[in-house]
């Protein structure tokens, strides 16, 4: 059995931010400056909160920072800060720190000295040794600098990849299960879908590269289902990049999973047809957003959730100028979910094999085509 804890990776980001803040403050200001005092106080608090009697490890490995063995996410808001820390450590030829449990008792003066020693070490010939000596001189015994990383984080990476793969396959199964229930006119709940969507959000927030590889999977027996899951993941990644909240990311992911639910009523021979479709067949295809809405309305979802879930599936074939389908009479604006799904749905379709195209588009080509 594998499990997933509540996402504590955000603690890593917070820790690094606070440490970075302290190091920057010491670099620029005198130690009696108010900003330095505030930075010291914040770092002191986070040491106490994070340690709780255990050591704290910050390590640089293969160009990424790790906090307590977990890779620190490089979201847009912390990218430059993480790069700063990487440069800081690299300039000093060190790979990180281990804060011992006794760091909880470190005084403010000691924290200032810690930061000052690190700051000045960049001028030394052998910064690692210089730091060690000065820590000894000033009795800073609650922290060690690491010169080399004796750990291999591949295992934890493998574990995360395995979770991502499992999540992917479980999501395909769930989409299939719900689609079948819907086509049999049975009641369909979305508990499973939500659980999976939340897991997907956690995985992507941790490391989106884990899932982007999965979205290249194509299963031509179950094309619609893998396509739906790919769209869900791609939408989630796109949503995260633009800064949507966790709750909205979950809803967007569920939207992605079921955006093509309406295809359950389009005859398979039309979906799989290799020749050009005739007018009637296109009409049937164009109805699938409407059918999708009808199906979603029948799902066992609360009023609030349902309000969000139908937006994307209804709008994912509409362009900004309202060309596309279905036709709108009351709706005056396409929702953000609809826009995101339009992009990811098109992208996934373009990068899939098509009998009427001479070759499958690469990601660059797909983006270029969509751009033009």
């Amino acid at each position: 059995m594998s499990g997933l804890t509540r996402n504590s990776y955000e603690s890593g980001t917070t820790f690094i931010k606070t440490l970075h803040n302290l190091l920057q403050a010491i670099k620029i200001h005198q130690e009696n400056n108010q900003l330095v005092k505030e930075a010291v106080a914040k770092f002191k608090k986070i040491l106490i909160d994070s340690s709780a009697g255990n050591p704290i490890d910050i390590l640089l490995w293969r160009g990424r920072l790790y906090y307590q063995g977990e890779k620190i996410l490089s979201g847009r808001d912390v990218q430059s800060l993480l790069q700063d820390m990487l440069d800081y450590l690299t300039q000093r030829q060190i790979c990180g720190f281990r804060f011992h449990p006794s760091c909880m008792k470190a005084s403010s003066a000691e924290l200032v000295i810690f930061a000052q020693v690190l700051s000045k070490s960049v001028g030394a010939g052998d910064p690692f040794s210089w730091i060690q000596e000065n820590f000894k001189t000033y009795n800073i015994g609650w922290v060690e600098v690491q010169k080399e990383v004796n750990r291999d984080f591949s295992d934890s990476n493998m574990r995360r990849k395995e979770i991502a793969r499992q999540t992917y396959s479980q999501t395909v199964a769930t989409v299939k299960e719900v689609t079948q229930k819907v086509s049999q006119q049975s009641a369909a709940g979305i508990r499973k879908a939500r659980r999976l969507a939340q897991t997907m959000v956690d995985v992507v927030i941790q490391d989106e590269s884990l899932v982007l590889g999965l979205t290249t999977i194509r299963d031509y027996d179950d094309y619609t289902f893998t396509h739906s899951v790919n769209v869900a993941f791609l939408s989630l990644c796109l949503g995260r990049r633009i800064g949507l909240s966790r709750i909205l990311l979950e809803q967007l992911t569920v939207c992605g999973m079921f955006h093509d639910l309406g295809k359950v009523e389009v005859p398979k021979n039309i979906l799989m047809k290799t020749d050009k479709l005739d007018v009637n067949e296109w009409d049937l295809i164009r109805k699938h957003p409407l059918i999708g809405v009808t199906r979603i309305l029948k799902m066992q979802a609360s009023r609030d959730l349902r309000s969000r879930l139908i937006l994307g599936p209804f709008e994912h074939h509409l362009n900004e100028n309202f060309s596309g389908y279905p036709k709108m009479f009351f709706t005056k604006k396409i929702s953000l979910f609809g826009k995101i799904l339009r992009i990811t749905d098109t992208y996934d379709a373009l990068t899939s094999d098509r009998i009427y195209r001479s070759h499958t588009l690469s990601p660059d080509e797909a983006i270029a085509w969509m751009w033009n």
């Binding site: 396959s169 031509y220 799989m272 047809k273 164009r286 009808t294 309000s307 009351f330 094999d353």
Partner: protein, 552 residues
Amino acid sequence: METPDIASDDPQLQMAKRVVTSLILAIKNYNLYPEGHENRKRSMEQFQNPLVTYLNRNGPLRLEIEKNRICFKGDEIYSETASEGNLPAIFYRDGLKWVEFQDGIQPLEIFDFLKLINKYWVLSTEPEGDLVTAFWEAEFSHINYLVSDFYWGVESSDDFKINPKAEESADRGGLEAGESIDESWRPISISQVEITPREEIQIQEMVRTEDERDVKIDFLNILLDNLIDQEEIEGWKIATEVIKEEFIEFIKSRDFKFAYTILDSLDRIYQKEKSTHTLLSEFLDDFFISIYSEDTLKSLGDHFNLSPDEVIQLKKILFLLPPGAVSSLAAIMLKTKSVHIKQICNDVIIKLSSQDIQPLTALLSSPNENLVQRLVYMLGIIRTENADQLLMNITRHSSPLVRNEAIKGLLRRNPSNLLKVFHFVDDPNDSIRRLILTFAGREKNPEAEKLLTAYIEKKESGKFEKKDLLECYQALGRCGTIRSIPFLQKMLMQPGWLPSKRLSANRQGAAMSLAAIGNPEALSVLENASRSANPGIRIAAGRALRAIVKTD
């Protein structure tokens, strides 16, 4: 519930057990008592106190979940049998392996934690979520948990088959109908797709708007567009069912603006579809009937203290309803204790009945007197052709209240209706009689004068009650003119020396009337009568004159 014997020399274990016991009690009391109840609040504190004490002394508290029991560092500290419906089973059901409380936990977190457990204690057959989805959304700062995925069964995570030659798909997902891909696309440079600072701001604004957005109106618009675009009855049925649910919720939550939007939009669709798409317009006809049922509108009755704006908005909604809504509104009007709603229903029924009186008429045969009385009142106001006739019919109603209201209505509509209803002066009900006489005597009126005079004359020769007769004379006095004086003089000056109830009543009444008329001719008759040799006449006239003096 069983709590196992714990080694008394393990204080940490004891403390953990106390925390769990208090947690179980807090959950029970949360369920038993309403929000704000003292017991609920107290038991929450009784959970918080040992928990915080534990956390302060020992750091994080992790409770390990197994089926029907909770453990602490491998030792069982709480168990229950499945039939009792228990906390470990609920946690286990949703896949929680452990739950951990951390130092710094806030009362609000504890409250939310208990609230969620209570909410998801029982799951429906196909639920929307569970404890784990709720915990995830709540994003507790000081409560961690581990979830196992045993829940998912044994789905395989094998690689998917990829066999492009054998089973290529031409699925059209993602592209416009009929569109072919021009494969001579122009490559783009990185700089073209790099987000500019301005675009960054636009994106942030989009995201901020999305977070704060109320999706109600978008949802509604999609439902309505879906309704128009659909061609299947099943699709219409589902869309309208949801629209109706939304309408009911908006009425319940006083979101009258959106409720109005629904009806107005449906009306627009109906008008648009009427001529071209008879099937949908017929469907909407039936739908409108269902939307104004009492069941749909019943939450109206619970709204008190409406603001003036809300009153206007609500009336706007109700005015859109067809006249058939009258019966539902009437029922709500009767049941509600809200003065505002009563008045609104009243006004709307009047307006809708002006369009078509039939629904209101149908209600007049209701056995509920109170209802019929109110409706009759409204009928008296409604401008419609056959209202008079309807009211006349109702004047034969068995209930005096209803008859009273019908007569009032008739008189209100047209004072000359007095001629039609005057005969109710003989009604066994006092209030009806008084109504007729009061109306007759409200101002100088030759018609009323004639009616009263004729009535008194008729009464004079038959059975009568003195009180009733005097009331007639009083009324005559108020509406009478110089034309009545000869009659009154005749009644006052009737010969007869022997004491007689009839004579006395008529003389007294006539004298009162003359005094009330009060013109010089009337007064002259009184003065002459006051000098009559007949003591009965003299007394009656004298009293009347003295009454005038007193008034003066």
